[in-house]
Amino acid sequence: MGVAPLGRILIAVDATEASLVAARYGIALARTYGAELYAVYVINENLLQELLRAKVFIEGEEVDLEVGLEEDGRRYLSHVEKLARAKGVNVTTELLRGVVHREVVDKATQIGAALIIIGEIEEPLSRKDSFYDEGEMILRRARCPVLIAKGESLVDDMYDSL
């Protein structure tokens, strides 16, 4: 019996080493199964607004930081492109903004992704921790399988062996 192709894989990248592990795993899967690879980075506008409402930021401060977040996003996506190119894999990257889990899930639906790959979810400070919520919400809201790329050294071995 043949194995169904993975089709399209979406990697959710954020500014963490864990999401780069997810990227390396996605590249390995895409190369192995001939899947099309996509990677997105979402600027967490929701959190910027939350910190503005909490008065941590004053008016205008969040705008400066948003520029920095955009630079972070471009840098990480560019790194993912480099990782993919090194293994002969094409990746389509996109910088999005909004509520992280919503953007990731919507993008997966839009491209008809067969799989979303995310990095290991950090231990939450609390269930009120927004970053924790985003990882959890992708798991809950996705309409396709979601894979959490755990075990950095295993993933590195897989990526390096390509």
Binding site: E50, P124, L125, K128
Partner: protein
């Protein structure tokens, strides 16, 4: 853990009292610089003061988060001053600040900076954590409270 390596035992200052917020900010910047996490102490202090002058970082519930991004900072780093008596920080609710978190970052560390500031606000929402931080008797105890999870994970 979000706060790991941001605030360490060496950058916790307990039993703070009798200082104004500007002096305290300078003390916290000195603490970060002395730990080797900021190469340009003057530039960092200027950035934090400039931000504070634009609007107080004193929030509600006894929390203050003076913050800035500046060249010469090693990643995202910070210091914490604990004051049982409280410091006048021109806070949003008019009350004194008991937990003053200095959070500083290199300009290219925007995401981790945002994440760290968010983590502090999460801690600030927990009355239990706030009171345990304020009554902590050692920097080690402070770090334990900062790094614990107050809810079970998945």
């Amino acid at each position: 853990m979000v706060l790991a390596n941001v605030i360490t035992e060496a950058t916790v200052k307990l039993d703070v009292s009798g200082v104004d917020k500007w002096t305290l900010i300078e003390d916290l910047v000195d603490l970060v610089a002395r730990c080797g996490r900021a190469s340009d102490r003057e530039a960092l202090l200027a950035a934090v003061i400039e931000r504070e002058e634009r609007g107080s970082t004193g929030l509600e519930r006894g929390i203050a988060i003076p913050h800035a991004r500046a060249e010469g900072v090693d990643g995202v780093t910070g210091a914490l001053a604990v004051s049982r008596d409280g410091i006048d920080f021109d806070s949003a609710d008019g009350g004194p600040a008991h937990l003053i978190f200095l959070i500083v970052a290199a300009p290219q560390e925007s995401t981790r900076y945002l994440k760290t500031l968010s983590a502090i606000t999460v801690i600030g929402k927990s009355e239990s954590r706030r009171s345990r931080l304020i009554s902590a008797s050692s920097p080690g105890e402070v770090i334990s409270v900062l790094e614990e999870n107050d809810e079970p994970s998945l």
